[in-house]
Amino acid sequence: MWRRSLGAGCRLFGCRSAVPQGIWGSSAVRACSAPVLPALSITALQAMDSWRKHFEERGVPEPEESSHYIMAHLFGAKTIQSVEQGKLTEFLSREETEQMWKLCTRRLSRMPVQYVIEEWDFRDLTLKMRPPVFIPRPETEELVELVLTDLETMCGTEDALDALHTCVEVGCGSGAISLSLLRSRPQLKAIAVDQSQQAVDLTRENALRLGLQDRLQIHHIDVMKDPEAALSLCTRASALVSNPPYLFSEDMSKLEPEILRFEDPSALDGGEDGLNVIKQILTMAPKILSDHGRAYLEVDPRHPSLIQQWVEVNVKELRYVETRHDITGRPRFCILQKRELIQGPRVGSGLRN
């Protein structure tokens, strides 16, 4: 879009290289093999430019960003803009060139950049990323923002009150949501579950790296198969947060290869109407939440109205509070709250009707 170009300055590359043009020409594309390592030294700018072109030729999305992020990663930086200008015009060492070629070849196979460089940022955290664990999307950063703002209104800014509160996350993936909440609220505790052992392992690894492991319990539980296991661990929680699989099954095949080939489909596929896991979570919610506790879900834009109707009929203990929109204005988040159960004989008489 308005992204600047770091390119150019690399037109020399063709003349400088002793490798015949044909190697990166049509034959290589047809064979779909990785481009051959250049015989002579090249600079970082030249390496990025040539990979941008390969990516473009092979139809790899975000060709420029991809080559930039991978190069920056090799320099130990997050973005190419934060790499010292002078470094980009220096020749790469043989090892650096080889590493660049190795990582970019992975990207050529449509592996997401986040998996290629094995990390990505989520809010103010840098998280380890590993296939096939779901890569957090920017919308989920907003979900966390929403929960944090709500927690602040509920508990104020005083940390001491947080000590009484626990958050439960269903489908933690890399741990992005729970770890962000824990990082922002230094007294809060969280319980995270996921049906994938790889996700559980990655969340644990990220928690350790961030030093948040003491306040996070992580369990390998599939709430679809064994909801009782989750219910026995999680009760009286103040908040239930989830970015559950919410894609409609029929849309799965239309996904980009980055997602389809590399990410765990069970973190994405929400069944025919995308509501399978959502319904299960909402059914469990009253047993997990304390009175007035809230559930926060990230969903498909078609979901909020469906969820509201379904909850009104099927989960009486929950009140649909509101729908919130994401940065692009799509209805993306649902907030629900557990109703206070009225104690005493009046409940009994009411139920008899």
């Binding site: 879009m1 997050k78 940065i327």
Partner: protein, 430 residues
């Protein structure tokens, strides 16, 4: 407080540069009281429009300053009496009383210093007599005492001047620094990069944080445009004098025939408002991201996390693509947008006041050529105060030399403020 801060910085950093301001054929020492003569001499060229920096002594020799101080002292006594008496008599309204009270507490430190200064003046007259004593030991003692007095007088005068300069609303803010290449193509962009680095160095020199928001490079390592959020004590107060057109004169790296080029770049310094002092209606904003098309959410995985925010009523735009997190980019873009909108608002207020000044701040300053970096002569000249320093390479590090230039600008600006207070807008006469 302007003067004091400068003095403190010098003391704290053990940075004692002997400064002489050659003004016409007169030579005066600047506001600072330097006890060491040292490393570097700074020459100011022919001052523009007769502007020059007055010494503390010269300022105190002015009848207008003495009168002003007397007026303030009288006002203080009057307010004090009123506040003390009305407690019993209830002569004035609650609001009036509150105003008087705050005036008393505002003026108290100043009046105290004025009185201390009077005392010191008396002491020095007493020692004058002892200086003429026949006993050489007593004479020596009197000399020591007089030196001590003179020193105290200097300090008190400095303190009084500091207390006279009012803080500006934005002085306590952090800021957004913007650099944009001007006339001169690639060479201007290369210079823009060097200037951006210079301010990065200046921020480090002061221990301020320097957080890049935008960074648009050119092909050969230059910079088309960049912005950074800078925060730390007095960051805006000091950097506000850096806004304007900076001009470079040198033989560019890109030049084959060895000809000298003149190129420009522009620096803008926007104060960063606090959340409380300045609010923006979210309804007035349009936020653009790469995720605008398609279904978004789980069905898309992108690495382009750039965010652009448009303030619809004004058309002001801010964008950020420095971070891998979209939310972080949004926060940073928002920060830049707030600063841009705030400085627009602020300029409406301050432009009138600054209109007459040589050290400009705000839009008017931004379009004015303020400084020339001449590589052939290895000098930097600030056109506002006609000050020249040498050693361009060291200057561009953003350390002592820039610090020195910046301090002079601050002193000059303070003096202009003071002259306004004293009702003396004519800087020429002495």
């Amino acid at each position: 407080m302007g003067f004091k801060t400068n003095a403190n910085i010098y003391k704290n950093r053990e940075l004692r540069i002997y400064k002489t301001f050659v003004t016409g054929n007169r030579q005066t020492v600047g506001f600072h009281h330097h006890r060491f003569s040292g490393a570097r001499t700074v020459h100011t060229g022919a001052p523009l429009l007769g502007a020059r920096l007055l010494s503390v002594e010269e300022l105190f020799a002015r009848g207008s300053l003495q009168e002003y101080l007397k007026r303030l002292e009288a006002e203080y006594s009057e307010c004090l009496t009123l506040v003390n008496h009305s407690a019993m008599e209830e002569r004035c309204s609650e609001e009036e009383l509150r105003a008087k009270r705050s005036r008393v507490s505002l003026l108290a430190p100043l009046v105290q210093s004025i009185r201390e200064l009077d005392t010191k003046h008396k002491e020095i007259t007493e020692t004058e007599a002892l200086l003429r004593d026949e006993d050489p030991e007593l004479q020596e003692l009197a000399k020591l005492e007089r030196d001590g007095c003179l020193h105290d007088i200097q300090d008190l005068r400095q303190k009084i001047l500091d207390l006279l300069i009012p803080e500006e609303e934005a002085d306590l803010s952090d800021l957004i620094l913007e650099v944009t290449a001007g006339v001169g193509g690639q060479e201007a962009m290369l210079f823009t990069n060097e200037v951006f680095d210079m301010y990065h160095g200046f921020a480090q020199h002061h221990g301020w944080s320097f957080d890049v928001l935008e960074h648009m490079t050119s092909e050969i390592g230059g910079l088309r445009h960049a912005s950074a959020s800078i925060s730390g004590p007095e960051s805006y107060k000091r950097l506000k004098f850096e806004g304007g057109v900076h001009r470079v004169q040198r033989i560019p790296k890109t030049e084959k025939q060895g000809r000298m080029h003149t190129s420009t770049m522009t620096v803008a310094v926007l104060p960063q408002p606090t959340e409380i002092s300045f609010t923006i209606n979210p309804k007035d904003l349009r936020i653009d991201t790469m995720r605008a098309s398609g279904a978004g959410g789980q069905s898309v995985n992108t690495t382009d996390s750039a965010v652009r925010i448009v303030h619809l009523p004004t058309g002001v735009v801010a964008e950020c693509q420095q971070e891998r997190s979209q939310l972080k980019n949004k926060e940073k873009a928002m920060k830049a947008l707030r600063a841009k909108l705030y400085s627009r608002k602020l300029e409406e207020v301050t432009s009138k006041r600054y209109n007459q000044r040589k050290v400009q701040i705000g839009t008017k300053g931004r379009s004015e050529k303020i400084r020339t970096y001449n590589f052939a002569q290895d000098r930097i000249t600030d056109h506002r105060i006609g000050m020249t320093v040498h050693d361009v390479k060291s200057f561009l590090l953003g350390e002592e030399l820039l610090e020195e230039m910046n301090s002079s600008l601050q002193e000059f600006s303070n003096q202009e403020t003071l002259m306004e207070l004293l009702g003396e807008n004519d800087q020429g006469g002495s």
